[in-house]
């Protein structure tokens, strides 16, 4: 089945220790998104790509970066995680302006 895959599902890191979350898709969608979702809150868009074109939300911290080496893969790098970065990180994909399909998420814990 075509799908959005996120690895790992659970990630524990230490304060200040860099971490990378990955997302892959078999849907061949040209847009990929990274969202941060904290407990009982709405998903908050961090960045998105249309093919190689990168869009960064104005309020996304500099601590967060992303890479999209090809159509299928996208990575979220958190350079120096703080306690406030503990959250669920959701990857989504879509055809341009169509519905977004989400992966299962990566739960990040910062100790």
């Amino acid at each position: 089945d075509a799908m959005v895959i996120q690895n790992p599902r659970y990630q524990v890191t230490q304060f200040g220790k860099p971490v990378t979350l990955s997302c892959s898709q078999t849907l061949n969608h040209n847009v990929m998104y990274w969202y941060q979702q904290k407990s009982s809150q709405a998903p908050k868009l961090l960045f998105h790509y249309y093919d190689k074109d990168f869009n960064n939300e104005a309020d996304t911290p500099d601590n967060f970066q992303s890479r999209r080496p090809n159509t299928s893969f996208c990575f979220l790098d958190i350079r120096s995680p703080g306690l406030g970065d503990a959250a669920m990180y959701l990857c989504a994909t879509s055809r341009l302006f169509n519905e977004q399909f989400f992966g299962p998420g990566t739960r990040l814990t910062v100790l």
């Binding site: 809150q41 709405a42 341009l96 302006f97 169509n98 977004q100 992966g103």
Partner: protein, 113 residues
Amino acid sequence: EDQVTQSPEALRLQEGESSSLNCSYTVSGLRGLFWYRQDPGKGPEFLFTLYSAGEEKEKERLKATLTKKESFLHITAPKPEDSATYLCAVQEVGGTSYGKLTFGQGTILTVHP
């Protein structure tokens, strides 16, 4: 700035007790309004897209409707397995984003047997 407000924040129903969830939105130009279901610890699952006022979509016990200012998600004769958080999101026409969604806070639905 786009705004999406969902009400109520939480809704508890008995099995078979029909009800509606509300999503009010403010956007300069609506490209689409999306409904998602999210189970605890999982990613949102797509339910419906609505594009224009008067449009309706149905899936099993769920029916979504759209006006110029709000959308409703009607749940008919709900079952315990319908328990989840229901998220509404809007997509705006124009701008530099590629299909960016602005989400509401969600309605937590609990259906008791």
